[in-house]
Assembly symmetry: C2
Homo-oligomer: 565 residues x 2
Amino acid sequence: MRQSKTFIPTLREVPADAEAISHQLLVKGGYIRQTASGIYSYLPLGTKVLRKVEAIIREEMDRSGASEMLMPALQPAELWQETGRWKVYGPELMRMHDRNNRQFALGPTHEEVTTSLVRDELNSYKKLPLTVYQIQTKFRDEQRPRFGLLRGREFIMKDAYSFHADYESLDEAYKTMSDAYHRIFKRVGLNFRAVVADSGAMGGKDTHEFMALASVGEDTIAFSDSSDYAANIEMAEVLDQGQKPDTEALPLEKVETPNVKTMQQAADYLGHTLEEGLKAVVFKVDEQLVMVIARGDHDINDIKVKNLYQAQMVELADEAEVKELLGAGFGSLGPIHVPEAVDVIADNSVKYVANVSCGANEDGYHFKNVNPERDFQVKQYADLRFIQAGDASPDGQGTIQFAEGIEIGQVFKLGEFYADKMQAKFLNEQGKAQNLIMGCYGIGVSRTLAAAVEQHSKDGAVIWPKAISPFQVHLISLNPKKDEQRELADRLYERLLEAGVDVLYDDRKERAGVKFADSDLIGIPVRVTVGKLAANGEVEVKFRDTEQEAISHENDLLDQLASYL
Amino acid sequence: MRQSKTFIPTLREVPADAEAISHQLLVKGGYIRQTASGIYSYLPLGTKVLRKVEAIIREEMDRSGASEMLMPALQPAELWQETGRWKVYGPELMRMHDRNNRQFALGPTHEEVTTSLVRDELNSYKKLPLTVYQIQTKFRDEQRPRFGLLRGREFIMKDAYSFHADYESLDEAYKTMSDAYHRIFKRVGLNFRAVVADSGAMGGKDTHEFMALASVGEDTIAFSDSSDYAANIEMAEVLDQGQKPDTEALPLEKVETPNVKTMQQAADYLGHTLEEGLKAVVFKVDEQLVMVIARGDHDINDIKVKNLYQAQMVELADEAEVKELLGAGFGSLGPIHVPEAVDVIADNSVKYVANVSCGANEDGYHFKNVNPERDFQVKQYADLRFIQAGDASPDGQGTIQFAEGIEIGQVFKLGEFYADKMQAKFLNEQGKAQNLIMGCYGIGVSRTLAAAVEQHSKDGAVIWPKAISPFQVHLISLNPKKDEQRELADRLYERLLEAGVDVLYDDRKERAGVKFADSDLIGIPVRVTVGKLAANGEVEVKFRDTEQEAISHENDLLDQLASYL
């Protein structure tokens, strides 16, 4: 494409409101413009990248046996009422009504619509399994849209849905989709991890998030330094490792600890390390009060507490209530002398401590030389804390490191939730009606594009991975007023097009400085510059990702590029 | 694709609510399903056709030098307020507000958004002209959605916008786009006409509609039987042809015509043909009363009256007001003795009548032997009537015929309306700020798909044009339980895929009758059936559009198909 004929409005300044690198570089490079908060227009370059990402996704979805569909953005409220999500989904669901006052949602996801489409048709085990997908615009009224394409209110997703007669078949589709996702993100050129995630309130089973590692990430991932293991930090299991220290249990001692409120203050006051103190936090788990004990250097993970109790809700207990029951406020709690109404449970690591300190359930007092079993009992030991950097990886290989990540995809075993609510049944081999079993699989298409920019930039400009660069080659005619330069550039442009190379040709009557600056901002990885060497039929070739540069004769250029492209 | 792995829910019965052929056949063939009134889901087959239509459009748009973009569906009300269309656009504009009560429209079109994107960037004549396009979901809250995809509330459009420094450049882009549209609709396989259309209230200049001829059409097209001429019936010019008849003017005579109210009654009562009477209709043109005279067999076109007066509004005059001024009601009006307050104008054909009748401006009376000039004068003769079948074509070639048409595209010279309202200016070569000059160009993508079905069906089933058929070949294994049939079919499926043929393979364990019936409903133009002849390595090939059938050996099949595909 001739640059003079298209629309690439580059900017030299970083837009004031752009925090994320991808947001900055996509605006500067003339890829996107904001039309309203969290709502973007893709300019010609942005659209080209989008189409390339979509093509990769489409190829891999088709290859995995999924059939493409296209469902509407406007979804009747009745469908959402069938599953109860019309009420449950908060203000993020954009709602509207038509001229006849019928209510609609602008779809943030399509479980209801898909299920309504198949429920009367997938009526026999013979028609199962089935996987369908679509690439489509989605809507979510984010409270705080930010980071450009990373957290928008109108965005593009690939969403897929699978339907099964049994859970083994769901497991297979889940594996097939996960494999496809690995291929997709690898082809796009992302550094990513598939992490074990929380299935949340959806009532589902397994779920993994695909996270692109990036400094702007809103999630923290725990991953092994020597294996594929990765998990959302909230989900990462901590191995029960350790042994009782071989030290003599000293006599329990109650000491005054005036104004000590935190673990650090207690450690400082009592002259020991953080891990030599026990913390005690009281939660309300549904209706049960639960005191959770952990080492002072560990953070208690309330999701693990919730899962242990299979509870609906976990929240910090009310301090006044705690004080009345236990005799002390939050700064002075401990597992010794706890009334029966309160369950005491402890993280596994507590098994392996000796002669530690803890709150005495009396404001301003702690116990020293506390030893589990001798001084207190717990109802249960379990994995109740957040994993930490340096912990052993749960798969037994290597140690844990942390990284920030952007969620670019998720695979999810939904089970029977939607079929049950929406009466989506099939007849099994025995002629008996059963719920359809379902999986869903999403990829944030516009997020994937932005994540690629987060990972691939240098000196304030993007350098696109080859597979999704808007063009393969940026051909620049430095001074088109000079016949020999313009003619050589024109000739090369035609030759590259004929060879099937996707080329952006800067044929504009602009100064060389403007052209180079624009080219940097656009970020196509290969740049071919036609300048003074044109007299010899020569051009400069620069591979921007490796910074390799070379002089090439016009007759050798195609060969030279071919091996790279 | 294996039919057992995808989702093609055919129906044997015509859906009760489906009036249009395309609606019926797309639902029966398992292409689409209604999700809400005027809102459809594209199932896998429908999506495949859609993608093929989109690919043709994209190729021809790119070839014409337009750059693809993607603008949002959610458009802030502020942009529509700038052009005044927030007020002017009626209830068809779907409106909503976000969680912060900011108002948005769901875009039915993107003039405002596009103009807002370019207005700060296309600031110099050097950057012009520019044409951008997008293929995108649009929303319009139709009062009466019907005909399936033909008049929906959520639909897919290609919309393009061009920006220019002068009107010559706009003319060029208009021509380029019109040419691209001709190529697109021809490639899709449509019988269509580009018709002169009314630019309506948009304040624009030239406009053409591209109409697919079809019995379900909501517009009537007048076209020449021997040239390319075609126009919306409202817009078709009528040539001023005729000559004064060489008959003696008989004496004017006033006759009683009791109970005569219509032209037909007058002709019957007075014993002459319809064309031997004159009709007189009084309009209110802005504030002026205008009596329009035409031959009794012609229909007056109020748009032509409006254009003649360059008026904002034309409506039938109030009958009471007419009676007070002229002395008679609507059934007895005529051009003789009309007070000066009322303009009298006549259609060109009135010049050429002699000894005709007309109302006497007195209830129950007519004049006979009326002759223009002798008996009445008119302020102006002009083309004021609708064209009729059999009239000479306005381009002088052939005669006019009528056809019903579906609007599938429109090209429009918008001029400066949007630039003027939205302050979109550029500096011309003299450094002076000027309004950007704009064109817009739409194609109804989902309508094009439906129009193709309207034109290509037989015996209650679609037969797709080759270019947009969901698959090129339908391969059917009649009895996959028989090894030789299944193995041959499997072998052919692999070979066809390897040869790059897009093939749907019916590998299901269904009866032959079901398979043939489904295949008819799906409508792929080439069917390859593997049945009893499999023992000889032979298959039946049927070209459904030509009804040609043949027996082919498996080794010859690819060659035989190649020449067709």
